[in-house]
């Protein structure tokens, strides 16, 4: 909270150009923005949480069918995407550090690399979705999942209806995640533009910090999606 002895005097202090009028000082503005982003991420936890809830229940009910379905999605691509996002989280923290230490070039390079990695993630996802489409694993009228063996249970075949539930959850969960990535790319486009204009300084680079928080959150969601969707049963 602002010091009471400075009540009414803040107009006379140096007014940072990025300070919004209703805040008493830059520190209050930064603390408010940061808290706002953290609270928003809490809502996102609950948003994805509903999907994880549905997933966990059906996985428990139809474990064998889910394992069979999981084996048909490309673990290599999924693992690559995990590594891509982890690298992008590194470049994000480098961007924040660059902003903190007035390294404009590093900031811009980090933001660009982050975005390229994000695009790579989406591209790989596109390949995966195309594969699923061609294999008729997209739920709906043309879904088919016949004679797929259940891992670890020789002679048993997956129930296509239950497998369809797996794929429904797969598409909704990864689709929603990809949507968040796209939004993240939009945010980072703005960050890149603003960094290019030279507006970020060690005193004020809040958008980079809170944009980074959002990106890390999207990474954390994938960190859970990958083992849950891709690694149910990969015993050879």
């Amino acid at each position: 909270m602002p010091d009471s002895t400075l009540v009414g005097l803040h107009h006379e202090e140096e007014h940072h150009p990025e300070l919004l009028h209703h805040f008493a000082d830059a520190e209050q503005q930064r603390d408010a923005s940061s808290l706002g982003m953290w609270v928003f991420l809490a809502t996102e936890v609950m948003f994805f949480g509903g999907l994880f809830c549905a997933y966990l229940i059906y996985r428990r009910w139809y474990f064998g069918d889910f394992a069979a379905a999981s084996k048909t999605i490309n673990m290599g691509l999924g693992a690559t995407n995990t590594a891509v996002l982890i690298c992008s989280s590194l470049t994000v923290v480098l961007a924040v550090w660059a902003a903190q230490t007035a390294r404009r070039t590093l900031l811009i390079v980090s933001l660009v690399v982050t975005m390229l990695l994000g695009l790579a993630f989406l591209g790989i996802k596109g390949i995966e979705y195309t594969d699923k489409f061609e294999e008729h694993h997209v739920p709906g009228a043309s879904f088919s999942f016949n004679n797929v063996p259940i891992p670890g249970r020789p002679g048993e075949y997956a129930n296509p209806r239950h497998a369809q539930i797996f794929f429904s959850l797969y598409f909704v969960m990864t689709g929603l995640h990809a949507l968040h990535m796209i939004i993240g790319l939009g945010v980072f486009t703005w960050l890149l533009y603003t960094a290019w204009k030279g507006r970020f300084t060690p005193e004020w680079h809040t958008p980079v910090e809170i944009g980074g928080l959002y990106w890390h959150f999207v990474d954390i969601v994938w960190i859970y999606l990958f083992p849950l969707l891709y690694l149910i049963d990969r015993h050879p």
Partner: protein, 552 residues
């Protein structure tokens, strides 16, 4: 008790209403007070839409036969009544109007933490509202406001996706309002405004915001799943695929139960302020009331499956949820005790806000106690999906939340508009609302207990229910008159009402230390708080002494 100032001939002092003119100065405003008024207009509009559907429902139920509308139409009527009233009236009502207006002022801030997000919140609400209106005008939805799967996902041919998206967008509005309040209350309190000095209205809105933030996303993703199931044939709740419709109910009620606490907590905050002011006493048990608000918010997330006792959940799970549902009544009971203790030996003034508060106390208590009946598994099985449940939730949402909303509108009307409403008419309206309300909904407890199912348009196999239904419809008409009266005299007062002083009620709270209506940035100088909340002894002690220089 109100102090009126004779109209002076000097030029009107600049305040938030006259600071700028023109439609765009309102539609692009970031002033939380103007946004509050934008919300006020919008939610009043939707209140009347929802009320219109209620009127048609009650007209149909005047006679046992289904003779006013067809069955499908009736399904749409109660669905649209519920969806509009819950998502477009009750959930935003107090937080978006009184909350938006008062939260910054009560904590001594110039605005909310994120004024532009506040405006975005209103636009999202409007977009959602327009989508819902369009949906209703082009056929509407017939699933009940609870849009259970698999009827909503597989069988109905009404506009689920559109209604769902409308609610999704409005839900985002709710989330952003909650986010704004939480950050504002944490970060923007003026010097000296410690947590223990906050008005309990603020504690109530803080607790409400927690629920909005953590619950709404779950119903949002549920709506996404339902829309995906309908539009893209991605089946998650489809029994043909082995899906579980009860899972839909879990995800739906995880939000929709805490949602009822979103609807009642702000009203409790209003009532606390009114009771303190019109008993001229500080609230008894301030910390108990403050922490009970947080307790309601947290406990409220633990009880959702009490809406599903007959849906097929496990008996052991039902036992746990039944027990927890009893527990959630405790913090509310604590509040009722503290309000009552505040009234005891207080100097009671029966102005209109206080009449609404008294109404709230009685009706909320009845509604809450009948909730305990419903928490008992044995009774629940008997009265589920009957009018007993309908009466229970209307006692809380209308007898509780709407009474609190009206009481708050009266209490803060001088601050919002700079005018006094006509007290005589206001007391009459409060009385009409109270009588109309009880006549409408008390018979419904009896009807439900006797076995009349809800959502039925034809009860001709039980014609003995007609008398109570006629009473209920008559009551609804009286209630409607009671709601119309304030619309009329509030509007009248904006032009012809007596100008209000800064603090016509001599009430405690920072919002009363600035002008009525307030200037755009709320205070001429940032306040510094050195006194405790509800310092009515000091306010009433003659002569008045001003402790710190504050806004004039």
């Amino acid at each position: 008790m109100e102090i009126a100032i004779p109209q002076s001939p000097v030029a009107e002092r600049e305040n938030y209403l006259n600071a700028k003119y023109g439609v765009w100065s309102w539609l692009l405003t970031t002033d939380h007070k103007r946004i509050a008024l934008l919300y006020l207009l919008s939610i009043t509009f939707f209140f009347f839409i929802g009320g219109f559907f209620a009127l048609l429902i009650r007209l149909e139920l005047l006679t046992p036969a289904g003779d006013l509308v067809q069955a499908d139409t009736y399904n749409k009527l109660f669905t649209m009544h519920g969806m509009v009233m819950i998502f477009f009236f009750l959930i935003p009502s107090i937080p978006a109007t009184l909350g938006n207006f008062l939260v910054p002022m009560m904590i001594g801030a110039k605005d909310l933490a994120f004024p532009r997000i506040n405006l975005l919140s209103w636009y999202l609400y409007i977009i959602g509202g327009v989508m819902m209106l369009h949906c209703m005008l082009t056929g509407g939805v017939d699933t009940g406001w609870t849009f259970y799967a698999p009827f909503s996902t597989n069988f109905t041919n009404t506009k689920i996706v559109e209604a769902g998206l409308a609610i999704f967008v409005a839900g985002f509005s709710s989330i952003l309002t909650g986010l704004n309040f939480v950050v504002t209350i944490h970060r923007m309190r003026c010097p000296g405004m410690t947590w223990s000095r906050l008005p309990l209205f603020i504690w109530a809105h803080y607790a409400t915001s927690i629920i909005q933030l953590l619950g709404t996303p779950v119903v949002a993703v549920t709506i996404v799943l339902v829309a995906a199931e309908r539009a893209l044939h991605l089946g998650i709740f489809d029994p043909k695929l082995g899906g579980d419709p009860v899972l839909f109910q879990h995800l739906f009620w995880f939000y929709s139960h805490p949602a009822v606490y979103i609807m009642i907590l702000p009203s409790m905050g209003v009532i606390t302020e009114i009771i303190a002011c019109f008993s001229r006493k500080r609230i008894f048990g301030y910390h108990f009331v403050a922490f009970s608000s947080i307790a309601i918010a947290v406990f409220g997330f633990l009880v959702w499956a009490h809406h599903m006792f007959v849906a097929g959940i496990s008996v052991y799970s039902a036992l746990v949820f039944s027990f927890l549902s009893y527990a959630v009544a405790l913090p509310s009971a604590i509040k009722v005790f503290n309000w009552t203790a505040t009234l005891y030996k207080g100097s009671i003034h029966y102005d209109a806000p206080m009449l609404y508060a008294f109404g709230f106390l009685g009706l909320f208590t009845i509604g809450g106690l009948t909730g305990l009946f419903l928490s008992a598994l044995g009774i629940n099985v008997h009265v589920t999906d009957t009018y007993f449940v309908v009466a229970h939730f209307h006692y809380i949402m209308v007898g509780g939340a709407v009474m609190g909303y009206l009481g708050g509108m009266h209490f803060w009307w001088p601050k919002i508009s700079g005018r006094l409403y006509p007290e005589g008419w206001a007391r009459l309206a409060a009385l009409i609302v109270f009588i109309g309300f009880n006549l409408t909904f008390f018979p419904q407890f009896l009807l439900g207990y006797m076995g009349m199912p809800r959502r039925y348009y034809d009860y001709s196999h039980m014609p003995e229910f007609q008398v109570l239904n006629v009473l209920s419809t008559a009551g609804a008409t009286v209630l409607g008159v009671g709601y119309l009266l304030p619309m009329v005299y509030f509007l009248w007062s904006m032009r012809y009402g007596k100008p209000a002083s800064d603090n016509p009620w001599n009430a405690a709270g920072l919002e009363w230390k600035t002008a009525s209506p307030p200037p755009t940035f709320n205070f001429d100088e940032e306040p510094v708080v050195t006194w405790e909340a509800y310092n009515y002894e000091e306010l009433d002690a003659p002569p008045h002494t001003q402790e710190v220089p504050v806004a004039r």
